[in-house]
Amino acid sequence: MAFLEISNLQKRFGTVDVLKGINLAVEEGGFLVLVGPSGCGKSTLLNTIAGLESITSGEIRINGRTVNNLHPSQRDIAMVFQSYALYPNMSVGQNIAFGMEMRGVPKAERDKAVAGVAKTLQISHLLDRKPSQLSGGQRQRVAMGRALVRDPQVFLFDEPLSNLDAKLRVDMRTEIKRLHQSMKTTIVYVTHDQIEAMTLATQIAVLKDGILQQFGTPHEIYNNPANVFVADFMGSPAMNLIPARIEANGGGVAVVLNREGTEPLQLKVANNAKLSAHAGRDVIFGLRPEAITDLSGADRTSAKVVNADCHVEVVEPAGADTYVVTRLGGREVIGRMRSDMQVAPHSTVPFAFNMDKAVYFDPKSELRIA
């Protein structure tokens, strides 16, 4: 049995369905990231786990115990809020100790626990300050300290890094991952940043409009998206999603992409039963930018690299890589080439398409077909 289980969870505000039957299960020590665009219900889901919002129906179990009707303080959870939510009238030390004070832990014990946590987070020198005297990163640490000191069964993080500047965000991300690795406590983490989701999670749940779109490891979510939404949402730059047609080609099938001013591009795929079934039909062809490269940058372990000449519209050097924009099937298609590739705009250069990584969706239902 999983450590944190959410079964058929529904949440309704008046007539609005915010969560429409969510099922999730996380193993002990897992790091679950809830990700999705704003308004998808991810924060509401976190709040229902915390007990800050009631649920309309369904069940939430932590370590085998149903917590549906328990007060937040009795669920053995700790939460880090987006705004940090530090009590402005208390010092850092008092902030961290407040929960223990409410539970009647003796003063000496509280001080010891606060000192221990402060040492872990390197905020010992800040304990007497007020939150208003701290920088954003320091406040973030204090907020984590308040959660850590509780030593809960589950940590809940509500977009904890979104108020930090870009560099600090990356640092704190690493720090959270390191803390998780050393403590091995189960974490549920909400973010709208898909890179945070990829880097931190052991499992990702992608939500949209209160519906769980896909639940899996970061690798599964990234490489085997269940539908167009997940494919488009995860990854930066986003996956290329190109209208295409499947046609029978010799022994196998080919993906046919229309091009302006020249004959359609045919990308051969070795025989694939699922895809053959769609021969002669329109599909959405998905290929991530890193699977569209220059010839020498192509994945050598892949057996299905197809080379083709394409017209370059725009070249975007990004330091580590060069993004090259071409046009296929009426869409802009981004390829990722080595940074030292000399590509001129409006020239025609050879591209390598790694068809191993290709995914196919039904254009109507937007669900994965192959």
């Binding site: 937040p72 959870i77 809020f81 939510a85 530090l86 009590y87 009238n89 929960g99």
Partner: protein, 294 residues
């Protein structure tokens, strides 16, 4: 060169404009302070000097007798008690009335913003309505209720009346202030295991300094200066300062002791003046805090 001259002209115009602004400000300050000057000057003159008809001049003979008389010996109604016992009545009425109405307003604001319930908007609207009800309308029903409660003509009765009629304003102040107070703090405290009242005492109230000052000033001045409720609901031994001042000034026997009247009027206004001077800074700051951000 041309540019330099325009700059010089700009500086010169600036000085002139500034001079005009200060002149106008000084004029208005004098205009506003004139009555206070007249009261102060005449309260330290012997009565004869006022009778000579020169209200604006400084005293030739300086005396504090009018102040002493107003405080402890002047004829108020039928008793020569001075304003002292009524001053004490007012203090005994104002302090509990301000404290209770501010505390209840804070609790109301806390519930209306952080523990929302179905129909909270309606409840708030009805409470706001209390701010617009003319006091004259409620005099008779209030008298009836005070009678039923056995509080008629007593200081606790006056406290009750002022608490009830202050609640609309205090709730409005605190609700607007707490509306901007981050709800995540309340949630964090809930997870930490603090209950309804603990969150109120430990988290919310310690962060409410500016709005408490605003509420206290507002309630203190209103209740201290109230005449209608004092005149309607107080007995002889619970009458507040304002009623006594009226009785002092309009007493129909003997000579009109203007100097004593001036001294008495200043005594009656003194507590509100002190409250403003002590906490006026916070008053503006509190109003701004409520208006702009939390």
């Amino acid at each position: 060169m041309a540019q330099a001259t325009t700059q010089e002209t700009a500086v010169r115009t600036n000085v002139i404009v500034r001079a005009i602004i200060y002149a106008v400000l000084i004029l208005f300050a004098v205009y506003y302070l004139l009555p206070l000057y007249v009261m102060l000057v005449n309260s330290v003159k012997p009565l004869d000097e006022i009778r000579q008809g020169n209200m604006m001049s400084l005293p030739t003979i300086f005396t504090l007798d009018p102040w002493r008389s107003a405080w402890s010996t002047a004829q108020i109604g039928v008793q020569p008690t001075g304003l002292k016992p009524y001053f004490i009545n007012s203090v005994l009425m104002v302090i509990p009335a301000v404290a209770i109405s501010a505390l209840l307003g804070a609790l109301n604001g806390y519930v209306l913003t952080k523990w929302k319930f179905r129909g909270d908007g309606v409840v708030f609207g009805l409470l706001l309505f209390a701010c617009f009800i003319p006091f004259q309308i409620v005099l008779i029903p209030m008298a009836r209720i005070l009678g039923l409660l056995g509080l008629a003509g007593s200081t606790p009765g006056l406290v009750l009346v002022h608490v009830v009629y202050g609640l609309g304003f205090t709730t409005l102040f605190f609700r607007n202030y707490y509306d901007a107070f981050p709800t995540e703090l309340i949630r964090a405290a809930q997870i930490d295991g603090a209950g309804f009242f603990r969150i109120f005492w430990r988290i919310l109230l310690p962060s409410s300094g500016p709005i408490i000052v605003v509420t206290v000033i507002w309630q203190f001045t209103n209740i201290w200066n109230d005449f209608l409720f004092g005149a309607s609901f107080a007995d002889f031994d619970s009458q507040p300062m304002t009623i006594a001042l009226n009785n002092l000034v309009s007493s129909s026997t003997g000579v009109k002791e203007y100097n004593v009247h001036f001294a008495g009027a200043i005594l009656a206004a003194l507590p509100t003046l002190i409250v403003y001077i002590v906490s006026g800074r916070y008053f503006v700051r509190g109003l701004m805090a409520g208006a702009v951000k939390g």
